[in-house]
Amino acid sequence: MTDTVQAQPEDRALVRIRGLTTVLNGKVVFDKLDLDIPRGKVTAIMGPSGTGKTTLLKHITGQMRASAGEVWVDGLNVGELSRQALFDLRERIGYLFQNSALLTDFDVFENVAFPLRQHTRLPEVLIRNIVLTKLQAVGLRGAASLTPAELSGGMARRVALARAIVFDPMLILYDEPFVGLDPIALNQVLKLIRTLNETLGITSVLVAHELEAIKQVADHVYLIANGKVVGQGDPKSIEHDGSPWTRQFFGGEADGPVPFQYPAGDYAEALGFRQGAV
């Protein structure tokens, strides 16, 4: 186990992915994928549904092992870390789950306080202040005593966001952070992501489909399809780069390099029409 490999000083990428190959149930999800997440920037990962964006986040956090290739986070090869070293790394990473993943046994306050209680011995008054500060940032200080069952989907995501940032991590991974947010909450979350990035220098990785939101917050965008990076660049200009991938994805077209239909047999035959009968 190589737990002590340190980042090179000139390494400007916090996350470096090289030759990542993932095969799940016989399906190739990533095919020698190369990708860099720069330090202190907001990077968006976009792509068609089922293309493996969440799987990529799982590789970065070591929740899933790659079939081949390497994932380096802050100079550490995630695939070779021991369990304890992986947990040490995860203490420096915030992760916002698609479905919030709030602990249903606890109220909002305790959900946000959970990482602090598990990893620190801070006095109760300090824990209370930190939690209330994070809840204030996501606009839910007044909801501290509510249970997860009493929250709407958008509120639950904001609580999960407060929990993800409670340690002021070096890296935050947001899996679909804008789903279910009303325009006011969406705007506040965008501001929060930007503020965390600018004031604390936190590196952020966003998996999202909302290009307009991405344009407001991201510094760089990757478009992933067919297991590879098929486009990348400035979010404000990527949709006009002339590539058939970006044209189809951002134009929302059914025809293009990404098939809209899942592979299937002949349609007319499936409907019971013999060839030439209609």
């Binding site: 203490e91 249903t104 990482p115």
Partner: protein, 258 residues
């Protein structure tokens, strides 16, 4: 015919593999025991849920088991003119077999299913994954406290069950059917041996049953498919596997402890 044999082979091999996985899971629980010491509060909380919250069903069933046992035994013993032995036979039956076995079966139905469903839903809603992402070991935080609480709660619940059974037996035999109160208690105290019947019968058996039921419940919940159907199957498997394990283990323990 050969297809049926093949299917039978698959069932046997699948069951053995599942037992093996469960054994490996027990090793993971034991390895996480030192780390779970810092979650003592969670263990106490689980003890409340699986122990205290099971008291109503254990007490009610214990009372009725004692009452029906006393009623049946009185009528059988009256054929031989031995109704004075009702108290001792009720006590021996309850301490040696019915107490631990029925308590464990009830515990599997009440607390075991609840543990499996809770952990299964935690997995289905990514709460287990969220804990891992927050660098909290879910085996130490989720599995061990529930396993320990089952281990601690079962002997206590079994004692309550046995006490209420004796009380129920006394109600029927003495207060209803007219067996002499002194005879009921004196026969019982002269025939029941503390080590053979109470320690071996109640304590050791219920400890073993508590460990097995808790292990099965936690294992099924932790390894369930993260879907509503998966949680439903896991809950059913907890009851079926626990019931079979309790009765099989009861035979083995009885053979060794007698």
């Amino acid at each position: 015919m050969s297809a049926q044999i093949q299917r039978g082979e698959n069932v046997v091999i699948g069951s053995l593999a599942q037992i093996g996985r469960c054994g490996l899971f027990l090793l993971r629980i034991l390895a996480a025991l030192p780390r779970s010491l810092r979650h003592a509060r969670e263990t106490v909380r689980q003890l409340w849920f699986v122990g205290a919250m099971s008291l109503t069903i254990i007490m009610t069933c214990g009372l009725f088991v004692g009452m029906v046992l006393s009623l049946q035994l009185y009528h059988v013993l009256s054929i031989f003119g031995g109704t004075s032995a009702t108290g001792s036979v009720v006590a021996l039956s309850v301490y040696r077999e019915l107490g631990p076995v029925v308590t464990a079966l009830l515990f599997a139905g009440r607390a075991g299913t609840s543990i499996t469903a809770e952990i299964g839903l935690m997995r289905a809603t990514d709460q287990i994954a969220a804990m891992e992402m927050m660098a909290v070991d879910p085996i130490a935080y989720v599995a061990v406290p529930r396993f320990l609480s089952g281990l601690i709660a079962m002997p206590l619940l079994c004692c309550v069950f046995c006490g209420l059974s004796i009380f129920g037996g006394h109600l029927v035999a003495v207060d209803w059917l007219g067996v002499d109160n002194g005879t009921f208690w004196s026969n019982m105290t002269s025939t029941v041996k503390v080590w053979d019947d109470v320690i071996n019968g109640v304590i050791w058996k219920s400890l073993a049953f508590g460990g097995v039921v808790s292990l099965i419940a936690v294992f099924q919940g932790y390894t369930t498919a993260p879907t509503s159907e998966g949680v439903a199957y896991a809950t059913t498997r907890t009851v079926v596997a626990s019931s079979i394990a309790i009765l099989a283990l009861d035979f083995v323990l009885t053979a060794f402890l007698m």
